[in-house]
């Protein structure tokens, strides 16, 4: 099963894509993914029910979050209500250690994203702050990366023995599925996704035409 693990909809302040249009686009353009995860900035979108859309387009549409820490942005998969009380998702200065710890405690998993990107990515902070403990997975392929950003991410992951996922970081419809993650088995919901990530059997893939 292939999922784009990083996408934003109009629910994010800088997102311009409607979720229905993502679905239409994936089917119309025959994008090789089986679903995507909406990782809205600094929030967890409790309200939206994408079940009917998922059924209509036969796609997995899962919900997660992208929060902000001193090491840059971090995707949190498997968010449930108690975690949103334990962490203030809107806080742009969350300590990474707390995000990792609370995610773990609440059955979620935290994955630093676009680490090669200046300031908002982990690579830029490792020198000053040291290599954080508790990270297992890094987003090593990001659809919005420029230049050597993905390469820097892969080098960091490889040096630390961390695993890598891929996500498009799409903010507009036509960018969905540029990068994704391949899992060996089916993933129907957020719980399955956390399990699959913990099983550590996945690989990041990219369909970007350039690096």
């Amino acid at each position: 099963m292939i999922l784009d693990l990083h996408a934003h909809s109009v629910k994010s302040d800088d997102g311009r894509a409607k979720v229905r249009n993502y679905c239409q686009w994936i089917r119309k353009k025959e994008i090789g993914i089986d679903g995507f995860v909406l990782t809205e900035h600094r929030q967890f979108d409790r309200e939206s029910d994408y079940g009917p859309l998922a059924a209509e387009f036969d796609l997995a549409i899962l919900k997660a979050s992208e929060v902000e820490t001193e090491y840059g942005h971090v995707l949190v998969f498997g968010v449930r209500e108690p975690l949103t009380h334990a962490l203030d998702f809107a806080d742009i200065r969350l300590p990474l250690a707390r995000v990792l710890e609370e995610s773990d405690r609440h059955g979620a998993i935290a994955v630093p994203c676009h680490p090669g990107r200046t300031r908002v990515g982990m690579c830029a902070h490792v020198e000053a702050l040291g290599v954080p403990t508790g990270v297992r997975i890094l987003e090593v392929l990001n659809g919005g990366s420029r230049g050597r950003e993905d390469q820097a991410a892969q080098e960091l992951a490889s040096a630390q023995g961390w695993l890598g996922i891929g996500g498009s970081d799409a903010h507009i419809v036509s960018h969905i599925g540029r990068c994704a993650t391949r899992f060996p088995g089916p993933i129907a919901d957020e719980g399955d996704l956390v399990e699959a990530l913990r099983a550590e059997e996945f690989e990041a893939i990219s369909w970007k035409s350039t690096t």
């Binding site: 302040d13 900035h41 600094r42 902000e68 840059g72 942005h73 742009i92 200046t118 300031r119 908002v120």
Partner: protein
């Protein structure tokens, strides 16, 4: 600088008003330089001659931000949205009124940043002619 304080003190208050004139020569050069070829943008003799839709993005308020707005850093251009309301003809005078429409914060490629959206509403007489949103980003100075 607390974002809620900025919102409370500065959102939705007009801070600038300015008049602008739509000049045919500028409309034409603007259109040609960006590759427009439709006669309504490139031929002043066309009965439907008008400014390209984003022409109003060139109009600026006298100041980027209200005079008393806290000096938290240098505002940089982060994007622009234009919402034309109807065709604009040469010789028209527009009045642009500006207010801060949105204020929010995030960490971006350049560290912690405060985003401001300054909205200019351009009126032709009583009629709203165009809306221009200018997104600005202020990179927080250290120890702020």
């Amino acid at each position: 600088m607390e974002i809620d304080d900025l919102k409370r003190d500065w959102l939705n208050l007009d801070f600038d008003e300015q008049k602008f004139e739509l000049r045919a020569d500028q409309m034409l050069d603007f259109a040609r330089a960006v590759g427009e070829t439709a006669p309504r943008f490139t031929d002043p003799d066309d009965p439907d001659f008008q400014a390209p839709p984003t022409f109003t993005a060139r109009f600026h308020s006298r100041r980027l931000l209200p005079d008393e707005f806290p000096r938290i850093g240098l505002p940089l251009d982060a994007g622009k949205a234009v919402m034309p309301q109807h065709p604009l003809r040469a010789g028209t005078e527009l009045v642009g009124r500006s207010h801060l429409h949105e204020i929010y914060e995030k960490t971006g490629r350049s560290g912690r940043m405060i985003f401001l959206v300054a909205r200019m509403e351009l009126y032709e007489g009583e009629k709203l002619a165009s809306i221009v949103d200018s997104r600005m980003v202020i990179r927080e100075k250290p120890n702020q």
